[in-house]
């Protein structure tokens, strides 16, 4: 993986999802959950305008469902905010992760920050080089943003024509999609160990800590990166992010966001 000119070295030709198609498919599934969110938010006492404002401004599905879920079951506003922020905390780790390829103007990075969620991080980091990662980030984040907000608006205005997403197995669509997007991370030995450790940590913590903490706590699995890789061993930093293209490269830092989202 030291040759950036070789996109797929022999024996490691993992299929990297094509970001445009994949983002639209993922966005469509998110849209159905957006409808559910809109319906639930209004049932929990929010106005349609508040439901839509929440999807535009909070834009973190798990946090939003947690917030209105707590309110719907009679919980206090403070409890609702606490649950929501705990679930949103993993976005800080995602933000750190995407900051490796989201370089550029501060304004662009502040705009991109709103799109930092499970889906955009997963889609972007599955790509092989920084230009593809940026492109996938904007496509996935943009697609999910549009579908999530359209869905919320429809649901909040009473358009619950689709019904329970679980009837269609759509709750499993997200882990299924993340399985596909995690495959490129399993190329390196350290990636495989981090994946197994993260999976185990989260699963073990589910019964004992509040929602949001298991995934966040899985971050400690990255500490094995502190180990110095043996010469010739796969380096995860090299495996998933080829060196930044030179200043003359057309795919460089200035090429992205306006045209693609």
């Amino acid at each position: 993986m030291t040759e950036p000119t070789t996109p797929e070295p022999p024996g490691a030709d993992v299929a990297v999802p094509h970001p445009v198609t994949a983002s639209i498919v993922l966005g469509a599934a998110v849209g159905v959950f957006g409808i559910s969110f809109g319906v639930l938010a209004v049932a929990a006492g929010l106005t349609a305008a508040q439901a839509s404002a929440m999807s535009l401004l909070v834009f973190t599905g798990a946090s939003q469902f947690a917030a209105v879920g707590v309110l719907d079951t009679g919980g206090s506003t403070v409890a609702a905010l606490g649950s929501a922020l705990l679930l949103g905390a993993r976005n800080a780790a995602y933000g750190l992760s995407v900051s490796r390829f989201l370089r550029g103007r501060l304004g662009t990075r502040l705009l991109a920050s709103q799109l930092v969620i499970d889906e955009s991080t997963a889609m972007a980091t599955a790509q092989a080089d920084p230009a593809a990662q940026r492109r996938a980030f904007w496509w996935a984040g943009g697609s999910v943003f549009v579908f999530w907000n359209l869905g919320t608006l429809l649901g909040a205005l009473g358009g619950d024509a689709i019904g329970d997403p679980e009837t269609f197995g759509l709750d499993a669509a997200f882990p299924a999609g993340f399985v596909a997007l995690v495959v490129p991370h399993l190329r390196s030995f350290e990636g495989r160990v981090a994946a197994a450790t993260g999976f185990a940590i989260a699963l073990l913590l589910v019964p004992v800590v509040p929602a949001g903490v298991p995934v966040l706590a899985a971050s400690v699995a990255v500490l094995l990166g502190l180990r110095t890789p043996a010469p010739g061993e796969d380096d995860p930093a090299a495996a998933l992010s080829a060196p930044e293209p030179g200043p003359a490269s057309p795919g460089g830092a200035g090429a992205d966001p306006e045209g693609s989202s």
Binding site: V25, S113, A176, V206, S219
Partner: protein, 100 residues
């Protein structure tokens, strides 16, 4: 929910995102830390998969989702295209649910 609480939540969630992208991220790191950051998705995505597939609230649950995501994992391993993986995961889950 009041507008003040809603806007407070929005500000909090945005700050968490910006904490990663701008406040902590976007700078050169020593090689060991850079390797750790590079491993974040490798650790967090399987954690998310575990929680979304094998739990409901704070309980472990083995249900139709495990069958769907298991089939999706097999398809992903056999290099099926992304839309196939995601549709298969949902369809198998729905089918098992309908039969159960």
């Amino acid at each position: 929910m009041s507008w003040a609480a809603l806007l407070g939540l929005a500000a909090g969630c945005y700050l968490l995102k910006v904490l990663g992208t701008v406040l902590l991220g976007g700078r050169e790191l020593p090689a060991p830390l850079s390797r750790c950051v590079a491993l974040l998705p490798a650790a967090l995505l399987p954690a998310l998969i575990a929680v979304q597939t094998l739990s409901t609230d704070d309980r472990w649950v083995l249900d139709a989702r495990a069958a769907g995501v298991g089939c999706a994992a097999l398809a992903a391993w056999r290099r099926a295209p992304f839309p196939v993986v995601i549709v298969l995961g949902a369809a198998v889950t729905a089918a098992v649910r309908a039969l159960a």
